[in-house]
Symmetry: C2
Subunit: 139 residues, 2 copies
DNA sequence: CGTAATTCTATTATTATAGTAGACAATAGC
DNA sequence: GCTATTGTCTACTATAATAATAGAATTACG
């Protein structure tokens, strides 16, 4: 499962994508529209800023905006950044691979091979959709 | 991510599939071969037994065995039983649907639609593989 | 009966998650 | 320069989930 925090991050980024090119969007705007607890959102947006996904400006008329064009940010990127991995087991992660605790060697683990396939399919879907996508019911 | 417990459950069931038709397999056999803490495995196998996936016999020469033929147990079934859902968000679960907390209505939530697609792809993979599969590197 | 096995209930330790508090820093506009 | 506004950072807390253990109870075979 994606954590609540990851879900908030994605919806916040969607909101910024919707207002891309309109200058800084204040945090309270995002919080209210997307129903995200404001204080928690400060933590989330600060992390996204540190990771280079959003730019910020302090002070009056400050706020947040996407550091890249929406079309250049895929859902796969976001999940990898906020959650660390798309995979369902540590051993199946491509970019954050770890061996599972108390497991057989990967070469003997049937679950490992299955999880690689699930990860590949998940990546195929999430890497093909960007924040620019309207994501209507029929895509 | 799948929990450690779910991963143990899957590997335990694989072990039982490997010895299907050979009578009761004692818990310690499974624990040793699969490197699963024995006491924890009792909890896991008891649950699988309550859910009807394995049958058990107590006492001397007792143990566990699959209640169904390995070919009739898919990885999708196992994950749904032990984890509740294949989906990455509560709102994207087909059999254990819940609305996400602090979310927009599902009809307006772009993330919801994306997660439905990921769940469908995950289900396609996991429902197509059964415990009878050797799951070699090339399938 | 005795031994080898599973079963059940309860408990614990650890970690992750979700969220809050409050001091601090920067900026724009008057 | 003042001040209101807005983001930043560190620390903290409460709750829940996870992983695992303890120990008594039950069953069944011989």
């Amino acid at each position: 499962m994606l954590s609540q925090k990851t879900r908030y991050a994605i919806r916040a980024l969607q909101h910024l994508a919707d207002h891309h090119g309109e200058g800084p969007v204040p945090l309270t705007d995002i919080a209210e529209t997307q129903k995200i607890p404001a204080k928690f959102l400060t933590v989330i947006l600060s992390e996204l800023s540190r990771e280079g996904l959003v730019d910020t400006q302090r002070g009056r008329d400050g706020g947040y905006w996407l550091a890249l064009s929406p079309i250049d940010i895929s859902y796969g990127d976001i999940v990898r950044l906020t959650r660390g991995s798309l995979a369902l087991t540590p051993c199946a992660s491509r970019f954050a691979h770890e061996s599972c605790t108390n497991c057989l060697p990967e070469s003997e683990c049937r679950l490992h091979r299955i999880m690689l396939r699930v990860r590949d399919e998940t990546a195929r879907v999430l890497d093909s959709i960007s924040l620019a996508e309207p994501v209507s019911l029929d895509i």
